[in-house]
């Protein structure tokens, strides 16, 4: 796990929310898509994953969302690419543990560790997990 100061973590979140590199519709075919929205936020996102031979080839998203949703989904897309389905599911599981202040394996979360404080604002857990839940349902159910 990278060692990040609070300032660095803030910078990572702001960078991914102001310039989300994965925020676009897919270029090409073969993507699984899940639409996600939030009851308590404006978040309204389409999440796209392309999986071939049990490997995640590409991940992207499009829609409207708050800072935490945008940045967490953008970071998730970065981290998904190149992982096997099993690795990705394990990472999602650890991320969920971190959200709920349960013991988690920080080795696999990489940059996503910047959301470690989300539970301080419990109403935003849903925002920080919206993209991750979408990826989870795609990978588990092939939606």
């Amino acid at each position: 796990m990278p060692i990040l100061t609070n300032e660095m973590m803030r910078a990572v979140i702001m960078d991914h929310s102001s310039n989300p590199t994965n925020k676009h519709t897919p270029k090409g075919e073969g993507y699984h898509k899940v639409h996600m929205h939030s009851d308590n936020c404006i978040d309204d996102l389409d999440i796209y994953l392309k999986v071939e031979n049990d490997h995640i080839i590409d991940a992207c998203f499009e829609g409207v969302a708050c800072t935490i949703s945008l940045s967490s989904t953008d970071i998730m897309c970065d981290l998904m690419k190149g992982k096997t389905t099993k690795e990705a599911l394990y990472m999602i599981e650890q991320y969920q543990h971190m959200m709920h202040e349960e013991p988690f394996d920080d080795e696999v979360l990489d940059e996503a560790i910047v959301f470690v404080n989300t539970s301080k604002q419990a109403a935003r857990i849903r925002c920080a997990t919206i993209g991750w839940n979408a990826a989870n349902s795609i990978l588990k159910e092939g939606k």
Partner: protein, 410 residues
Amino acid sequence: MYDIDKVRRDFPMLDNKKMQNKPLIFLDNASTTFKPQCVIDKMNEYYTEMTSNSHRGDYDLCYNIDVEVAKTRKEIAKFVNSEVNEVVFTSGDTEAINLVAYGYALDNLKKGDKILISITEHASNVLPWYRICQLTGAEVVFVELENKRITANSVKNAFNKYSNIKLAAFAHVGNVLGYEINAKEIASICHSHGALLLLDGAQSVPHMPIDFKDLDVDFLTFSAHKMCGPTGIGCLVGKYDLLQKMSTFHLGGGMNVKFNKDMELEVLDAPAKFEAGTLNLSAIMGFGEAVKYISNIGIENIHKHDQELFDYAISKLEKEDKIIIYNKDSRNGIISFNIKGVFAQDEATLLNSKGIAVRSGQHCAKMIDEVIGEPATVRMSTYLYTSKEEVDAFIDALINGGDILDAYFN
């Protein structure tokens, strides 16, 4: 003189409560309101002293609860100036609107007819009409707003543009922008075209004097929980002849005179015919107490208090370049705004981190973005117990609150 300190002492939720380890400042009163101790006590009284069912027994306890239900109905009728038998208990404003939709509109509308609403309405005053249109072949049409408002003129124009409008349904005070409509004039316009008017009073009845008879609207709906009462109770106030003609929505015990094997049913007169099953008796008692509490303080005083806080907050906020206010002139205890370059939810989270409760988003009015040109706003809303100091703390947090990520890292 409005004694805010005395009012605040009535509310347990204002007694040194904390949120995020900061003194709680509740500015989400358009969503729901705190309850004074007298309302809580009255609800407990049902469970500790009066538990029994209404209309169901020959013993004193049962008689006593019937008296309590009648007392609440009378308090409400007095409060909004209707007849007592024009007050129908529902689970809230939403159910009251649905009752008119299914009890009146479903029977009386047909293909080619129209229901007039606006894009500023709350979901509860949109979706029941969509469903009725799906079921009857009628159509929902939208009034053209004038400067973000539903005006008498805009309603006149709608009647000129569309034929066969049979029903109009508007919020008396909008839940996002807080503009009050001229209900009396609009009711008159509707009636001159043979249409009925439903007035959604969710954001007006708790905050300003309402005279059902003088406004001459056909239906008025509101919820107790937005006026210091419990959740799960509200009412439909309807003109008695209309209520009598309406179909029942829920069927069961307590609403019928008799029924037989030939499936013949004779229902009770309104309002009983709409109140099937065991009522939310504790909540009804609490509702009555809430209306009494507000009446004692004086609804005119509450309205004035809301307006003074509104004027005060706007005078401070409009000096700030970074704050965009969407309803500077609505003066009804609701301010919708954004901070330039900040997503509404992010600002609301920052305020949460300072102990300040506001709402962000579309506030259930999911077509409002067309009016304000933004996908979401932050909404602060006051009530009779909101203090000037709380408004100051809110404004200070907006102006000097720091970065939105402070909510996570400080």
